[in-house]
Amino acid sequence: MFEILIFSENKQVAFELLSEAGKLKGALNARVAAAVMPNSDVNDYFGYGADKVYVLEDAALAEFSPDRYAEAFEKISNQNGTDILLIGSTRRGKELAPRIAQRLSAGCITDAIGISLKGSDLVAERYVLGGNTIASESIKTGKKVISVMPRAFKTGEKQTRSGEVARINLNLDASKIKVLERKPKSGHTANLEEARTLVCVGRGLRQKEDLAIFEKFAGSINAELGCTRPIAYDLKWLPEEREVGLSGKKCKPDLCMVFGISGQIQHTVGIRDSKIIVAVNKDKNAPIFKISDYGIIGDIFEIAPKLVERANTPKS
């Protein structure tokens, strides 16, 4: 039987993949399987749509390693006739997916934002050319590997279901790579991807102290504060978890308000899915206005305090 296998070391992403696999299942007359790390509750995976769960019990798989996991998935695929592998495109997953593909001589598309069937062809969409365009590509090889962006798909309703459990022991060798330490990141509290309201700042800020008024404004409308890459990486004024864009977070808020951002594609890719975008910029010709619903031409430092005031005194 045709098998679609999903895996992500991030449980939430795994559930998103299960719901998407469930949509392909009928048309392909396939079984949906999930591979899970030891100590996972298999019922969660059945609940979100898995018909079969592979529990990775091999000692070499106790911790995530792209090489060991690639070897395991190669074997699982060959032994069980898995044709499609959907991997969560976290950084670890993105390291894993092409390794599996190489071992299976499979075509691979990473960072997919959409998956569909065109006839019998499996088609995935992803951003290319630095975020300028979306490419739609069909995979021609027998086995296919797609890594899917977190939050590209919605998690379905959890049902009470059960299925087959397969315990995987492959006696794999240990990885050549030794993980010596995992240091927690500081400031890892932001949750921009879930935020319903987002405030973003860019190079229109002159100094770190300028952040204060935007932090205050974000607080006053219950928004998360995000920023462009230069603010997080070059200037380090905000932690990198707050970077929004091609190399940062992709956000889908109802309202996104951006201040002092010119509108380079590397950033706007991260806010493109917002319901409403508001831009404030002193340059009337800034490209950001082209992708905004509402724009104010003016000085962000004059406007931000007034917006704070306005947010704190709702009109009756």
């Binding site: 790579i177 309202l255 206005f289 905004s292 619903d293 104010i296 004059e302």
Partner: protein
């Protein structure tokens, strides 16, 4: 330490225009450059060489114009360069490209480290290092923000979503770097002038022992490649700030996204 740096020739992304009627990108005639993260990888290789000796070999595949593009890598401190140019290579997908580079790397023969960007700056698929690691049987570590060399091993710090991971691998190893790893220096006029005197080797498919049959077909077929449609209202408020703010808040309340 002998270090191979893989670079990808891409169009200058800042100059891409989108055709309004069709949403197609206009790529013809755009300057060809190396991606930003490729330059970070090259800079890191040069820094390692400055500390522990050895040489830096730039390796790139691309169009005939690569003979020009590669000079930027030589000016930035690569000691020599190998360029792979053959119409046959145009048919290669990710798997084919990895096979081509693996053959070239085997022909170069002696190396301790292979450096590249964590993904190419244009398409960012991140497949090359991962596929190379499986073909060459080498450990590969991506998302690297710091590299420490030892005699027979390399220690890297990787920027993962939930932590900074410190990992160690035996040499030779493949390392993908992020743009945080360094700030590339601007080459001096002297370096630019010297670049054209450095050793540049050009290989075709036959030189690396690769046949069309071995290369196979592309694993994926592009059905379309278009800019996503932007359907924004583009309402602009100009004039007195206080009026603008009131108009904006009114609009946002009507949209149901303010004051909830």
């Amino acid at each position: 330490m002998d270090i191979i740096v893989c670079l990808k020739q891409i169009v200058d992304l800042k100059q891409i225009r989108i055709k309004k009627e069709t949403g197609e990108p206009v790529l013809e005639g755009l300057p060809l450059v190396f991606g930003d993260m490729d330059i970070n990888a090259l800079e890191e290789a040069v820094k390692i060489k400055e500390k522990s000796g050895g040489k830096v070999i730039a390796l790139a595949m691309g169009s005939a114009k690569l003979k020009d593009t590669i000079k930027a890598a030589l000016a930035r401190g690569a000691d020599e360069a190998v360029i792979l140019i053959d119409p046959l290579f145009d048919a290669a997908g990710s798997q084919g490209k990895a096979a081509i580079l693996a053959k070239a790397i085997k022909k170069i023969g002696k190396y301790d480290l292979i450096l590249m960007g964590e993904g190419s700056t244009d398409n960012y698929s991140g497949q090359l290092g991962a596929r190379l690691s499986q073909i060459l049987g080498l450990p590969a570590l991506s998302y690297t923000v710091q590299i420490e060399m030892a005699a027979n091993s390399v220690k890297v710090t990787r920027n993962m979503e939930d932590c900074m991971e410190v990992a160690e691998a035996p040499l030779p190893a493949i390392i993908g770097v992020t743009s945080e790893i360094n700030k590339p220096r601007i080459p001096s006029l002297m370096q630019i002038l010297k670049a054209s005197k450095k050793n540049l080797t050009e290989w075709k498919a036959a030189d690396i022992g690769l046949s069309a049959a071995e290369l196979g077909e592309k694993e994926t077929v592009m059905l379309s490649n278009l800019a996503p449609p932007e359907q924004r209202k583009q309402v602009l408020f100009e004039g007195k700030t206080d009026d603008n703010i009131e108009k904006l808040i009114d609009s946002l309340m009507k949209e149901g996204v303010w004051g909830r």
